[in-house]
Symmetry: C2
Subunit: 467 residues, 2 copies
């Protein structure tokens, strides 16, 4: 494919009233799109085969070479890549491993995972990749309603995590104004509120946890979050914005649209799962990053309507292209039309769990997001909660701690009725009995960044008993 | 001036072996440069006069209009601008005041002061300004030896503070690799060390305090900071890197060049005070930002060799141009030639104090930087110190607390000899007696960002007695 990697005109903007950035690509007939995707997959695989010992070795071991992908169906023969493999390859050939496909001097940025749960992974992004990704971001932001006249407040952490940097590059490419405030420094949220009231940005970017935290701080200061005048709040880094009850809570709190975006750190700065202005689940922008949904065990490609693991392939990245990267996330996909007219498949419920986050309590699969959904939908509960799984003799114990709102005690039946109500709803949704504990407002520690709300103390129990 | 504002070719790079980015501008005959500077001042003033009620009102009140600046000498008639005036103007016309000289939709970024000591000031930077400033940064970075083959670790905070963002834009414009790690999050420094050892960047950017803090953490982990292989460490946000003994300590610690840069938050993203590779004081890049040194009280322009207050004028900024902004800093300037061959004036001792930071103890002017210089030059002392001024009845008390190194007690004469030595040196340099207290290593709180090491409790005393 001679026109790969693609180049974009960095000055292009759609006409002001246009719904689409690139109408032909976004509303393309899915079969025609698949032909284009196939050519891009072939080009990306040939690129990686020539330059990345990591891929060549992996594909050779599977008895494959790029020429073997002649139809899109053939792509399912290509083995998936796991994060574990990437980490191992980097450990063997530090710091960037053997899958960097551009000369070192063309690397514009180095980022990485926070490495809080193991050896960190380093990411390298090339100069041309950065520009392509900014174009992709701007195009996707256009689909959820951002325009050059917007001012975007960034309540996200600017450090190793690439998501916020990619969004910033997108906002700048779009020609909107960026106000990169940051996050993560203790005590900074009151100052964020002061600036939100002063500068009056029209859009907010961060994690859903942080969005809710800012609202809580605002109320504590006697400010109705609606007064801030945020028209669009878009999120990544956590699944919350795709959980219907959390989305509703954010929209009711701020009076603005809550937009879910985000795929995986290894795919960033691209962020090609994103809701459009109609917010009926994230579209998969297949012409930029090709996403498949695979069965968690057999790894076969699933039909629309089924639940499985998103697997991602960069179609426009030359630096560290990911080819069939296993996310470990859980989602359902659909090809039902969206009101916006784009013909991309969608994840109608977002990314709502992880194959490995999912935990088993007394034989039942339990997703933390299902518990969050119940809690957010219950009136009288506050913003924060904890899920604690422990073992009482041979039996799993599931404890859900939820903060109540100050006024909750005044309800008919008081706190005990509320507690019983939550327990009954949880039982109905997750299928197992949980011990519900209501705790006073503000008692649970706030998470300003990626929420870590599930505590599985069985792990500790196992560790202690097997040593 | 029809070619104002200037435009730069964003792809230009000097040939690899070149010492200068723009030889003709950097080595220009000073008189010829002054003619060019005059034309740029005239253009910038005309621009501001047409667009900024703030400047028009101010200049009209002084009986001036832009056409009155016919020779460079006339410029001294233009009244200086203080930060206080900018804050007041923004308070009256929030959020950006009446000195924004571009349409709101051309603003690319909004930043601001942290506002820790009063109402914050908001900064707006235009799209074209951002590109011009990135070009200026890259050019200045070239002068202190950064090249496209370098990888720069950013140990600075990405938030409201513009300095780090400007440096990042400069590194990217230069074509070097940026690794924007960030700072300011508790506990992050150990992770920074891990990444420094893994990725092996060749350059470091941050505050001098943070540079020394990283070295201290490294030693505590059994790592010699020299092993990190940093070739260039450049700093802004604090004056330390220009204090000879601090510079020496940083260079001896890391085995790399310590480069001082930085002017004022209101001047950023431009940072046109910067040392070249010879590190003999910051050059004033007069063709980008025009700097004068004024007498602290009479506000007349001082001759070379004298000490006064730097006053800055943007020559290439269209968004919020500063025309004669009073820094309140203290410096000495010289036109003695530098080994690099550039004909810019220099601040041979950097910015070493503030008119308002300077405190008076028993009738003597004392600069915190002079105390720092003595402490850094004394063997056996650690990284951290505090200066406490209090009042004992009617007498000022000056207490200097300094951390010792673990091995200091083993010196001949022990700690008492060290204490007496520091007290004698301080007396000789600052002219007043100070009570010196040596404290164990690690006892004083570390400052990861802007060092706040002077505690003047007389203020409190005054407040309490005048209410």
């Amino acid at each position: 494919m001679s026109d790969w990697p693609p180049e974009y005109d960095d000055r292009y903007l759609p006409p002001p009233g246009a719904r689409y950035w690139f109408r032909e690509r976004e509303c393309q007939d899915p079969e025609a799109r698949e032909r284009d995707v196939l050519r891009k997959i072939q080009a990306a695989m040939a690129w990686a085969w020539e330059r990345a010992p990591f891929y060549r070795k992996k594909w050779q071991a599977a008895g494959l070479e790029p020429g073997d992908v002649k139809r899109l169906d053939d792509f399912s023969k290509v083995p998936v890549v796991t994060k574990h493999e990437l980490r191992e390859d980097q450990a063997a050939r530090p710091p960037l491993g053997s899958y960097l496909c551009i000369p070192r001097e063309e690397v514009r940025r180095i980022h990485g995972t926070s490495g809080t749960t193991g050896k960190p992974t380093a990411f390298a992004i090339g100069r041309a990749d950065w520009r392509r990704s900014a174009n992709a971001h701007a195009r996707i932001m256009w689909s959820f309603g951002l325009r050059p006249s917007d001012t975007v407040f960034f309540g996200s952490f600017f450090s190793l995590y690439l998501g916020g940097w990619g969004a910033l590059a997108g906002v700048e490419r779009l020609g909107a104004t960026a106000f990169p405030f940051g996050a993560g420094v203790p005590g900074q949220t009151l100052m964020a509120l002061r600036w939100l009231r002063e500068v009056k940005p029209s859009a907010f970017y961060g994690t859903p946890s942080y969005g809710l935290y800012v609202a809580e701080k605002a109320r504590a200061e006697g400010i109705d979050p609606k007064e801030l005048g945020l028209r669009i709040l878009f999120f990544s880094g956590e699944p919350g914005a795709g959980i219907p009850s959390t989305k509703r809570r954010i929209e009711e709190t701020y009076g603005g649209a809550c937009v879910d975006t985000g795929s995986m750190a290894e795919m960033t700065p691209w962020m090609t799962n994103a809701e459009c202005e109609f917010r009926s689940g994230m579209h998969l922008w297949q012409d930029i990053v090709y996403t498949e949904l695979l069965h968690p065990e057999t790894k076969t490609v699933l039909r629309f309507g089924q639940e499985g693991v998103p697997v991602y392939t960069h179609l426009e990245r030359t630096s560290q292209p990911m080819v069939r990267l296993w996310s470990g996330d859980l989602a359902t996909w659909t090809d039902e039309p969206c009101e916006c007219g784009r013909t991309y498949p969608r994840l109608p419920r977002g990314v709502y769990g992880r194959v490995d986050d999912m935990f088993i309590v007394r034989g039942e699969n339990v997703y933390p997001s299902a518990i969050e959904e119940v809690l957010r939908a219950t009136e009288g509960l506050g913003e924060e909660y904890r899920i604690i799984i422990s073992r009482n003799d041979a039996m799993d114990e599931l404890v859900v701690q939820a903060e109540v709102r100050p006024e909750a005690g005044a309800r008919p039946g008081g706190l005990e009725a509320l507690r019983a109500d939550v327990a009954a709803r949880l039982r109905a949704v997750i299928g197992v009995r949980a011990t519900v504990q209501l705790v006073p407002p503000g008692q649970l520690e706030r998470t300003e960044f990626k929420a870590r709300r599930v505590i599985d103390s069985r792990e500790l129990f196992r560790e202690l008993t097997t040593r």
